[in-house]
């Protein structure tokens, strides 16, 4: 990363692990629970948030000196809403079935705490380039967790990855019966498709992360 200074690198790399928006700041949990049953949906959601947060942070940062602080939340909302509508329209135009699947959750990116959080905490006080990096970093940190959760939920819940039957075919053809793991009696775990299990998977990630890096454990 010769392009970036040490400080700028930190902006991107910190949210990926030690300052992760989901596992450390515990923001944006709702969407992490709602749309991670399929890996594809997780990836699309991550990209959408990447776009909204990256562009949004730059826009807010550029306007930061002219936004009256009394109405800054409204201004931020308008910026997010605009960007989210763009994402929503693009999805509807080019990936209609996926847009159906994500349904209301694309619209709910507006209320994703990470976005407002980064606007408030970073973009309002930093220049556009650094804000852009911060937005990208946090969106990537969010996306990494979403993709990990989506990976396990789709693999264990449906036995597929991105729709491919990686564990074999549970029904198979009528003569030979199920194939792959299913032929020896394996079954999909229906619990993985329910949101509570997503919370537990996020919890397990938090557990693993904190037991690897003791500095992250909060005092209480």
């Amino acid at each position: 990363m010769g392009l970036l200074s040490k400080k700028d690198q930190k902006l991107i790399l910190d949210p990926l692990a030690d300052d992760n928006p989901i596992t450390i700041q515990v923001l944006g949990i709702c969407s992490a629970l709602a749309i991670t049953a399929q890996l594809k949906a997780s990836i699309v959601m991550s990209i959408s948030v990447l776009f909204v947060l990256g562009v949004g942070n730059v826009v807010i940062s550029l306007m930061r000196n002219i936004i009256p602080s009394k109405i800054r939340i409204i201004v931020q909302l308008i910026v997010v809403a605009t960007l989210v509508i763009i994402v929503d329209q693009v999805l509807k135009a080019y990936a209609y079935s996926l847009s159906k699947e994500l349904s209301v959750f694309v619209g709910l990116i507006i209320t994703n705490c990470i976005i407002m959080g980064r606007f408030e905490a970073f973009a309002l006080g930093n220049g556009p380039w650094r804000s852009f990096l911060d937005g990208i970093g946090n969106a990537l940190g969010y996306g990494v967790i979403l993709i990990i959760v989506g990976f396990f939920r789709e693999l264990l819940g449906s036995g597929t990855l991105l729709g491919f039957k990686v564990l074999g075919d549970p029904i198979g053809d009528p003569v030979t019966g199920p194939t792959g793991l299913y032929s020896i009696g394996y079954e999909n775990n229906g619990f993985m498709l329910l949101s509570p299990m997503a919370l537990i998977v996020v919890g397990l990630i938090i557990w693993v992360q904190r037991s690897r890096n003791k500095a992250l454990i909060e005092e209480n």
Binding site: G185, Y186, E187, N189, G190, F191, L194, I200, G203
Partner: protein
Amino acid sequence: MGLKQNLHKIKMKYEGKKMAPAFNAIHTFLYSPNETTHSGSHIRAVDDLKRTMNTVIMALVPCLIFGIFNAGYQHYLAAGEIESATSFFSGDFWSMQNFSKGAWKVLPLVVISYGVGLLVEFIFAVIKGHEVEEGYLVTGMLVPLIVPVDTPLWMLSVAVIFGVVIGKEVFGGTGMNILNPALTIRAFLFFAYPTWMSGDKVWVTEAKELAGGPDAISGETILGSLAQNKPFDYDVADMFLGFIPGSVGETSTILILLGGLFLIFSKIGSWRIMLSMALGGLAMGLIFNGVVSQEWITESSKFYSLMSTEFWHHLIIGGFAFGMVFMATDPVTASQTNKGKWIYGFLAGFISVMIRVFNPAYPEGVMLAILLMNVFAPTIDHYVVQGNVKKRMKRLKVKTA
């Protein structure tokens, strides 16, 4: 006492080593430890955690034995090889044939439940460097009793690992858990593998092989039949004695009651919770009966069969009795205060019957109701304690004024 001395010597030799907790667990399971408190004003009693657990296990053994016979009995009855039992001591039920069939199916469940669960406990004890806790002794016995007899062993292992780690270890181990681990394991199975945990194909062992075709013979539980407004041919005696299909150890209400009495007289189980839970179930049953007799609900309603079931039948069908005696009374997850126990038990019974009737997709409302009340138990205790504090403050004011 040669063995005891030798074990103690080995213990001394390896003290502080990594595997010491695993060894100590086996040691203290066999004998009381050599070092006990010698001085000071401590209460010295033999009923430690291990003794408590063993008492519960003793209360469970009759259910387990009955479950083994019942597994075989239901199988051969469905196959048409034997007559249905007419009395509790019927030779058709207590036969060697039933026992061997049932034991072949049930004992692996027990072995897997204990083996996997204790393995997880040992691993956690070694990693965390504390002694192995006895909490799993009862859980390990409860789990095989509350699952359908044909539950695949690998599913049970996955569920046990999940239940022990997520239901107990993440909260800090025995005594710190919010949810009853055995019910957590069952709930996991129920939501993860619903086709193995409900419906009419899972309660009679080898149902598919019996039918000789892709369609299994139907061995519906009473609750399952009621939920679909279908008739069933079990009378009250069958339900009370336990000659009905169901999870392994929960069918025989009479043996569960005997176990419950044993727990009450050994002061291990709380009679307040058991009684209030029964009252709660009866109250909800009476309300439903009232609704039917007022003719607000007619036979065309999908709730009709379950609602018109006589209110006290709810206590002897399904897992109500088992949940009441062995699940709701778990001292860790239940309410601690006496008043709290009444509220906790009553609501658990009340909600059990409510879930049963209103959500036929979850015929076993007992599990969900107890888990729900587990979550609320600390809240109930909090308000009971605060209420008491307030009352005393008032009394103090009156006195000083």
